[in-house]
Amino acid sequence: MKQGYKQVKRMTPAMRIIHWVNAICMVGAVITGLYIGHPYYQSFIADGAVDKYVMAWNRYGHFIIAILFDVTSVIIAYLYFFSRFEKPYKKVIPNGKNIAEFKAVVVNLLTLNRKKEFDSSHADSFNTVYFTIFHLLLAWMLLTGLQMYVHGLESGMSSIGTWWPWMLHLVTDWTIPVCGGTLMDVRIAHHMTMWFILCWVVFHIYYQVWRTIFWKEADIAIVIGGSKFVKDDSAN
């Protein structure tokens, strides 16, 4: 370790695994989802239909990814409140301390790191709010996606029992009026949210790289090694 710096643990192995599962799922969901919305490559006409099954495989992949997202979302929602490491909900509550920190981080970004008046060793309020927005977008994708999925279970039955479509109706039917009243509005909302998420991802990657370059605290290492390095004031 470099002289005068101390190592700060920021992400547990579980958090890092979830991060990369989500990141890979995201890429897969976009690739398969764009195909489902508008099939952008053609199957080979000469093959028998049974060998191709292209749309079905795309949908299968999309749904498996959705299930992985379901699982990670439940875990993340739990960790937001009950994590033994850091409870992110504490940074989202709009109290005076958090608002001040949020502003300080925005100022730091806008002044191109000329002003840095907050402690960057721990998770800051701005990033936590930004991550929370992502989780909400993802939850919205899950709800609208499951709403579209349950249209195919109109008999009220499924291979795992009748509770599944029943629960999906109970949990997601409200998205129809919220999106605009028709099933098509739910689709449009689902598709549009993908673009919001892509914009979110672009800024997220940029911002973490920017922090790494300008703060010189190895922020980019958090998501791989789990820790960053900050100046150890006690050593000076």
């Binding site: 002289q3 053609q42 191709k52 840095k116 479509p165 409200w174 009026p177 028709t182 673009w195 010189k216």
Partner: protein, 412 residues
């Protein structure tokens, strides 16, 4: 605002679209006895017209066997077990005891056409022929004061018993002056409210009467709405589609004659027996959808091989209707069968949100302000580009003027 509060309330109270196809033996036994009793009661009533169903069948060359085949198919369509077949057949014979008043509002009369213009009347059309049509603005011989008198008499005579069929939307703009009817110039709205007052139930037929349909499409100059937005205190059944399938109209009337009740409805008040299933799941081209075999342009190799029409804008995956099962004109054919996609005509706002003949991703959507139309992807890419430009500016500025922390290494 109150509309919105109402919508939110509805969110958590609306019935799910789940279709229960088997409700258990006890339920059906009870229903069977109830229906039998009701049919016996109907039998004692004097028919409202002199048309005899059995004679009509014979005149049209339809034998008993064919009729019973129709009865069992209709029983299945109504999601009743086979033991109801004789009752359905009985009910069809007694259809001339069901008084119907038919209103024609803001529409193209396509639903009337649907039940009149069959190439040769089949059983569904014959059943619709013998219902006691007391008043039908498009079909009746009477006109002017005479027609109004007939309507008043029918409403008085069958008070609380007649079924009110409504075809067409209701213009609410300009105090409803966009559509008036009769010698007194009654607006469609007042006309509908007056006729609905003493009806046993109201049946909205076709896309316009159910959800406003094409008259209600953007920018909706007449302020058209569906019957469900006007009539709130009556049992209401929606039979959407453009036109509504005569098989489903017969189904609803038969169900009413048979049980005296409206059939089980979904959250959009559509009978579940007809609108409980998605077109996509019973489509003959579904295998091509799963295989990724799509018609890329009209008349291409895919089109010649009956490939899936999804990329030509088929909306079967988001449309609930039974036309992929019962088809139209007594199962002759249906839109996807003739090689063009579904336009979602049985769903609300279908003209604006379904019928654009492109996949959803290529559909033009309106900004919340009602302004510029872009596709979802154009809008999304625009957003992404804006984010990219913002980031590029910030990155460039940071490179030029940003302050790098001292990393502990010596700098010149």
């Amino acid at each position: 605002m109150s509309d919105r509060i109402e919508t939110v309330k509805k969110l958590f109270t609306s019935k799910s679209s789940r279709v229960e196809t088997n409700k258990g033996d006890t339920y059906y036994q009870e229903l069977f006895e109830k229906c039998e009793a009701r049919l016996n009661e109907m039998r004692s009533l004097t028919p409202a017209n002199k048309l005899d169903f059995t004679d009509l069948l014979e005149e049209n060359g339809i034998d008993r066997r064919e009729f019973m085949k129709w009865a069992s198919a209709t029983t299945a369509m109504l999601m009743l077990p086979p033991m109801f077949t004789p009752l359905v057949a009985d009910a069809a014979v007694m259809m001339n005891r069901a008084p119907v008043v038919w209103l024609e509002l803001q529409d193209c009369a396509g639903n009337s056409e649907a039940l009149l213009r069959a190439d040769g009347p089949k059983i569904d059309e014959i059943v619709l022929d013998i219902i006691s049509l007391e008043y039908h603005e498009t079909l009746q011989a009477a006109s002017g004061h005479q027609a109004e008198k007939q309507l008043d008499e029918a409403m008085e005579h069958f008070k609380g018993k007649y079924l009110l069929f409504v075809e067409g939307s209701i213009p609410m703009g300009m105090d409803g002056q966009y559509g008036t009817i009769g010698a007194k110039g009654e607006t469609f709205h007042d006309h509908l409210v007056r006729c609905a007052e003493n009806a046993a139930a109201v049946v909205a037929v076709g896309a316009c009467a159910t959800f406003g349909g094409i008259p209600a499409a953007a920018p909706n100059p007449t302020g058209a709405v569906g019957v469900m937005d006007v009539i709130k205190n009556k049992p209401l059944i929606n039979i959407p589609a453009c036109p509504a399938n005569p098989a489903n109209m017969v189904g609803v009337i038969l169900h009413y004659v048979l049980t005296g009740q409206v059939p089980e409805l979904d959250s959009l008040l559509r009978p579940k027996f007809a609108f409980g299933y998605r077109i996509h799941d019973n489509c003959e081209r579904r295998a091509h959808f799963d295989a990724g075999e799509y018609v890329e342009e009209w008349g291409d190799v895919g089109a010649q091989n009956n490939f899936c029409l999804y990329k030509m804008g088929c909306k079967g995956p988001m449309t609930f209707n039974n036309c992929s099962i019962v088809r139209y004109n007594e199962a002759v054919n249906w839109p996807i069968g003739v090689g063009r996609g579904c336009i979602g005509c049985s769903e609300p706002d279908f003209w604006d949100k379904y019928a654009y003949e492109r996949p959803m991703a290529d559909a033009k959507i309106k900004a919340p302000t009602g302004g510029v139309e872009k596709t979802v992807d154009e809008f999304g890419l625009g957003m992404l580009t804006a984010a990219g430009i913002g980031i590029a500016i910030h990155a460039a500025a940071s490179t030029v003027a940003g302050k790098r922390e001292n990393s502990g290494e010596s700098h010149e």
